[in-house]
């Protein structure tokens, strides 16, 4: 098989040897002047003579690479290389819509004398991210509940406020209702089971309502486990997205004024000018930073000198959690959801074959 002798071209920064035409169709998405070419994956058995595109787990394991780029409490950026968009997209879709979280599902308003209407308040409450590990709870039937939260607050005048003050902060007590005023009401043995879990809102500073003296809220909320497919409030991520790694190939040496202009066509840091024997020569330094704007293709004298593309199997994932679970746990959970889906149908096939 001669396919293995042709290594992928594209050494970073160097003037890469032109890729073989077939390899380019297979491995790159091309950004042309009037459109994007080679969008679809075509690496299926029988499509290319001389290539073995049969699924092979060993080959996959050899080519697959994953590097964590950045990670903190709420965000995660990592590269996933050597996988098809179909599978990478499945992970992304599951992150958005199928990783379970806890959220307020029912709101029982015993008293609401504030100016915010019951239904608006109920909607606002539903969207608050609730810190509770969904892995410790079960999906419930309608009418059942995982845990309860309570919001009981009354606004009063501040007796110690100065006579001529007009600042509501000084005049009133509890005139701003924040998510931190929501408290957890343990049911059954929950107080022991979740003793150190600190169930409650993730953020304490979400403004829910404003009150004036005499107005009050008395609300009990029922929380359940759910998934983003059912309602966006259950989605565990603020964003989960990926982009393909940009690849910029300079087909000729570009120097002088042209190089200067080429540099300005791309995002800062993508192209730098190198001094070679007193000439300023353009060089691709970091194509990862590019936004793929295709500005360079508007310059008639430059557009034939560069090739813009994206690496088909190099995904730059970015996951931003709402704070309920750390982002790395979310990605692990998402992959587990896909594995569980496969297992569910495998079991189904087994059980129907038994009959």
């Amino acid at each position: 098989m001669y396919c293995n002798t042709v290594e992928k071209a594209g050494g970073a920064g160097k003037m890469a040897a032109p890729m073989r035409n077939v390899d380019e169709i297979r491995d790159r998405v091309i950004l042309g002047e009037f459109g994007v070419r080679n969008v679809h994956s075509t690496d299926f058995p029988g499509n290319y003579p001389g290539y073995d595109d049969t699924w092979d787990l060993r080959k996959f394991k050899k080519n697959f690479r994953l590097d964590v780029f950045h990670m903190d409490e709420n965000t995660l950026e990592f590269d996933m290389v050597g996988i098809d968009a179909a599978v990478a997209n499945a992970f992304r879709r599951i992150l958005l819509a199928e990783v379970p979280t806890m959220a307020i599902e029912k709101v029982f308003i015993y008293n609401n004398t504030s100016i915010i209407q019951d239904e608006i308040l109920a909607h606002r409450l539903g969207l608050i991210p609730i810190k509770a590990d969904p892995r410790l709870f079960e999906y419930r039937n309608a009418g059942e509940v995982d845990f309860l939260l309570q919001l009981k607050i009354k606004c009063t005048r501040n007796p110690r406020a100065s006579k001529d003050s007009s600042d509501p902060k000084e005049l009133y007590k509890n005139h701003m209702v924040y998510s931190k005023d929501i408290t957890w009401v343990p049911i059954g043995n929950q107080a022991d089971v979740f003793a150190d879990a600190k169930i409650g809102p993730v953020h304490g500073d979400i403004l829910l309502a404003q009150l004036r003296p005499g107005q009050e809220l008395d609300i009990v909320m029922h929380c359940v486990k759910g998934i983003g497919k059912d309602h966006a409030k259950f989605s565990p991520v603020a964003t989960a997205s990926y982009r393909l790694l940009p690849e910029i190939t300079l087909l000729q040496t570009i120097e002088g004024e042209k190089a200067e202009r080429l540099k300005r066509c791309f995002s800062p840091g993508v192209i730098e000018l190198e001094n070679i024997d007193g000439r300023r020569v353009a060089k691709v330094v970091n194509s990862r930073l590019d936004t793929c704007s295709r500005e360079v293709l508007r310059h008639d004298d430059l557009k034939s000198l560069v090739k813009l593309g994206r690496v088909r199997d190099h995904f730059i994932f970015s996951v931003e959690s709402t704070g309920i679970l750390p982002p790395d746990v979310l990605v692990s959970e998402a992959i587990n959801v896909l594995i569980a889906k496969c297992q569910k149908f495998l079991n189904e096939i087994d059980s129907t074959e038994m009959e």
Partner: protein, 119 residues
């Protein structure tokens, strides 16, 4: 509001049905996957199409408000389509398991490196 995909407690319906045209052999089958969409549909289609014994594989979402997909497999040489579907599901599951392993290892390594940088 009944949780979509929750299905706990409710009477368990078959998640998988098979539809076969009259006179068609077992190599040409449409599977109906209930409660699934592009997430499993497209990734599974990719895996099944990677199988050289498959002549055709495709899926469609019958209607936006119906939560199911029609997943069609036609095989070469009369190989049972169920066998192919099983292999596809296993391949996808094994690939995912490898991704999960790699991911967790890399996250651990990143944490270690970060810890060293802090010290």
């Amino acid at each position: 509001m009944a949780g979509a995909g929750a299905g706990a407690g409710a009477e368990r319906k078959a998640q998988l049905e098979t539809v076969q045209a009259d006179g068609a052999d077992e190599g040409c089958v449409t599977f109906v996957l209930h409660g699934e969409d592009h997430t499993l549909g497209n990734s599974l289609r990719y895996m099944v199409m990677k199988n050289p014994d498959v002549e055709f594989c495709g899926y469609s979402i019958t209607h936006p408000s119906e939560s199911k997909i029609n997943f069609r497999i036609q095989t070469r040489g009369g190989i049972p389509a169920t066998e192919i579907l099983c292999k596809g599901l296993n391949d996808l599951s094994n690939a995912s398991k490898h991704v999960l392993q790699t991911f967790e290892a890399q996250v651990k390594e990143f944490r270690l490196k970060q810890g060293e940088a802090m010290e």
